[in-house]
Amino acid sequence: MEGSSRNEVCPQLLDLIPKERDWPVNRDGERRHGLSEENKLELRLGPPGEDWSVIDSTRKNQRERSESLLSLGYFSSVASMTHAAAINTKSNGSQTQMFCSSENSVGAVLPSPWSSSAYQGKKQHNQQKANAPSFLQLPPTPQSMPVMPQEASQTCCTNVVDLQSAEKKIFSTSSAMTAVPNSSQKRTAPAPVVGWPPIRSFRKNLASTSSSKPPPESQNAVPDKVASKKPIETCGRGLFVKINMDGVPIGRKVDLKAYDSYEKLSSAVDELFRALLAAQRDSSAGGIQNKKEEEKEITGLLDGSGEYTLVYEDNEGDRMLVGDVPWHMFVSTVKRLRVLKSSELSALSLCSSKQEKVLLNSPMN
């Protein structure tokens, strides 16, 4: 194996990857993690010009090795992106340098998006024990991994972007996760398992929410914390959107997949809110009327003829009348629904077609 010319750490490192493919099944007691050996190996990587050094006296061709290791590191880290944790591309501004944005060598790009920004502290203290960063847990077989060219620093981040969104999808459907196919990777981390490690999901997103100054290129990557509000939830096969009605404090959710036309949606809205509306009327009238106030049917939602009208907000944040676009187009762009009093509508200029969109500034509630 290639590790013969390197220090004693390498056999352990080499052992890990091929066996990790069978990790769940193969309880190979021979695996060693060589913690003590790893501690002796203090390996730090970073952009040139910084005080980062590779301390390993037995190594020759350090530079070449570190570059190839870094390129390997990138791909293995890419593979392990599919794990449950959201990945830190936005990091705590004061702590981490965002290497993705640097235009320098390959070494600059790779380590920090995936190593915790907290390790900054460690890197300055050589006395501290350092566990080998995760991306070094690879056999140094450059021939099996493409060496990254300089301009790949951009593709790094794009791949990160794809993985982020893939991850987010994986997370929200809570399905068993499989490694994101990446044709260029030859070795993968163990296939991630649902619910392991046992951390609740709000603790897993630490990395993506723990920044105060997101670097520019990651704006379209990880949905930032404001966008963590999810107006649309796909609970299994349904498409649930919120619907609020004027005068009713409790909003509801409707599953748009359950309907295939505006008429069905309209009658569903009527059913949903009829009773609530009657209750509201009753309570606002001070309850002096009999408790069983007649429930008035809510009609004319779509054509403006009724007391209420159905509007929706689309994915661009604009408010539109429901009913103008074909149903399937509506379903794909709708983000939430509102039932407004028709009397208030005339005061606002609602547009009925996308071409003449006017943003409504009416207060939300």
Partner: protein, 624 residues
């Protein structure tokens, strides 16, 4: 005093007593007070009668039992005889339901007539980790409906892992005029609309605590819904898990008119500048969640640099600090003045390193509870060990929760903690590397451990130094920590580890197992050896039907058993269901995961007085 009721009361009561005695589940339903006849035929023959001798005793008992607060004591008292059962039921004011499906709301409200405070737990814990499809159940709705008519004087509701809708909150707000405390832990199904209703309608509200719950953003300004006029009775407002912005001006006004406010935990949408404004208004706070603890985002508003240090220095009563959701470590020194008094510090969202931690924790001599991220590394833990001699609870969470991530904390940190914090009672520790030696050391150094939860994130990982399984470490824990009641194991474990647990873990009530064991024997050891076992959750371990059968004698004493991705077959589970009719045996299909047709994905079983529930979703099959 303890003679059976049947002998003494007058004849016309005997009918009621016989009806009671046939009720095998000790449901002392309907008969209230002493000497009053129960429901059923015979009231026409009732005339005034002199109180019989036992009635006096029952009155005395009622007065005495008022003072009994522990529910375990009360459960024991209720088993003495029918009279005690009846009186205990009358005097129980705090009702605890450990599994919402073990008893129906109706049965509970009929037996306990004068309850003021209710605690209900729902989903199994492993559902938190996406091991089960959502919408499994645990609905609050039937409970709140039953309580609305049975307990109009209800004051407190505590829910854990329940599905609560906005409608449920509306019913709650409408039905209980004296309502004072709402605590929702790990709940979901509701949104800011529901909070708005509670805020506006519950005029006596003292406590509104949302802990690790999922709150939907309905665009509702719930903070502004608290009554605007006069002072509020608010003592505790905890909303750090609410993932949507709040109306800060309204919050500021609310805090200003809540003179009794002691606990305030803000969410991450509150910047440090806003925090300042709140802290200076309420120096009487004892518990503070600091929100984001960094500057507001967006266009630089040129926030004046506040004197955070003085603001915190004025908080003489602060004992519990948390938050730090997006911490800017530059601000960390501001909390220095309160460190000396802190008994609880939660840095589990703060990505800080060892140096930054040390600047704070070296002053925290009184610390008893400490939650932190592993970003502080072993060095940070060493600092904690050297300073916090009174530490009782430690939780170390992983910043990067992946199996193959770098592990900044290891056996070194654990060893240091065990040597420095001898009074440790509870530990939750996530790491990548752990040795048996360190675990053994902790078992010897910390004899008061009651909760030991070690999560070695790499599955099946042996001791890196010796190459051995982690059996000996966990064995030492159960052997040496005589007060151990909760245990979570990980790493490479053989049946031997379970043998130790069965042999020594006599007080263990909760056991969590993942990716461990070799054969059925492992589970057998535990089921046969641990008489106090109540909650057992197992995943991905090679235990099969034979092992399951070995617990038949014990399942009625348990709250639940969860086994997922083990080696159970439908026939095996069916056998259990047939032999134990009072056990609800749910087989849950994980629709998304691939599985062999004949294997059981998830088995979740629990004792119940009600039989199969009627709100089971389609992916749940209840075997009978």
């Amino acid at each position: 005093m303890s003679e059976d009721d049947d002998r003494s009361p007058p004849l016309d009561l005997r009918g009621a007593d016989i009806a009671e005695s046939s009720n095998k589940t000790r449901n002392c339903s309907g008969v209230s007070g002493s000497g009053v006849p129960g429901p059923g035929p015979g009231p026409s023959s009732m005339e005034f009668q002199a109180p019989y001798p036992d009635q006096v005793l029952e009155n005395v008992l009622e007065n005495v039992l008022q003072f009994l607060s522990s529910r375990r004591d009360r459960n024991a008292a209720s088993l003495v005889c029918k009279s005690w059962c009846r009186v205990e039921a009358l005097t129980r004011s705090e009702l605890f339901i450990g599994n919402c499906y073990s008893v129906s709301p109706r049965r509970a409200t009929v037996r306990f007539a004068r309850v003021r405070s209710v605690a209900i737990k729902g989903r199994p814990r492993f559902a938190d980790f996406n091991l089960m499809p959502p919408d499994w159940g645990a609905h609050f709705a039937p409970w709140v409906a039953a309580m609305a008519s049975a307990y109009p004087w209800l004051e407190k509701v505590y829910l854990k892992r329940m599905s609560v809708t906005d409608d449920d909150l509306a019913v709650l707000a409408e039905s209980f005029p004296s309502f004072k405390e709402l605590v929702l832990v790990c709940c979901d199904g509701f949104g800011t609309s529901g909070l708005a209703i509670v805020a506006s309608k519950c005029r006596q509200l003292r406590v509104l605590d949302l802990i690790e719950s999922e709150v939907a953003d309905d665009d509702m300004d719930w903070i502004a819904c608290f009554p605007e006029n006069g002072t509020t009775c608010l003592e505790s407002l905890i909303f750090d898990c609410v993932e949507c912005p709040i109306n800060f001006e309204a919050l500021e006004r609310l805090v200003a008119r809540s003179p009794s406010l002691k606990k305030l935990r803000l969410n991450r949408f509150v910047s440090i500048g806003q925090l300042y404004r709140l802290v200076v208004r309420s120096p009487q706070l004892t518990h503070l969640g600091t929100g984001s603890f960094s500057a507001a985002e967006g266009p630089a508003q040129g926030e004046p640099e506040h004197d955070y240090l003085s603001a915190f220095a004025a908080c003489k009563s602060l004992v519990c600090l948390s938050g730090f959701r997006e911490i800017l470590p530059d601000y960390l020194p501001a909390i220095r003045p309160v460190c000396a008094n802190l008994t609880s510090l939660n840095f589990s969202y703060a990505n800080i390193n060892a140096e930054q931690l040390k600047s704070v924790v070296l002053h925290c001599h009184k610390l008893q509870s400490f939650w932190v991220l592993d970003s502080i590394c072993d060095e940070g833990l060493q600092a904690v060990a050297s300073t916090c001699k009174d530490l009782r609870e430690l939780r170390v969470f992983p910043f990067d929760a992946r199996e193959d991530s770098e592990g900044p904390v290891s056996e070194v940190g654990l060893q240091a903690i065990s040597e420095g914090c001898r009074k440790l009672q509870s530990i939750l520790y996530f790491c990548q590397h752990m040795t048996n030696a360190a675990v053994v050391a902790m078992s010897q150094n910390c004899p008061e451990l009651e909760v030991f939860r070690l999560c070695i994130m790499g599955r099946h990982r042996p001791d890196p130094v010796t190459g051995q399984p982690m059996d000996e470490g966990f064995g030492a824990i159960v052997r040496n920590c005589k007060m151990l009641t909760r245990l979570a194991v990980s790493g490479l474990l053989t049946d031997r580890a379970f043998g130790y647990i069965g042999k020594y873990g006599k007080l263990v009530r909760t056991l969590s197992v993942a990716f461990a064991g070799d054969s059925d024997m492992g589970l057998k050891y535990v089921l046969e050896g641990c008489p106090r076992l109540q909650k057992l959750e197992i995943r991905d371990s090679p235990f099969g039907d034979a092992a399951l059968r070995s617990g038949l004698h014990h399942y009625y004493n348990m709250r639940f058993l969860w086994m997922s991705s083990c080696r159970l077959s439908p026939q095996g589970c069916q056998g259990i269901a047939r032999e134990l009719p009072r056990l609800v045996v749910e087989v849950i299909r994980d629709e998304v995961a691939e599985h062999k047709d004949d294997a059981v994905d998830i088995l979740y079983m629990y004792r119940s007085l009600e039989g199969p529930r009627d709100d089971a979703p389609r992916f749940v099959t209840i075997l009978q």
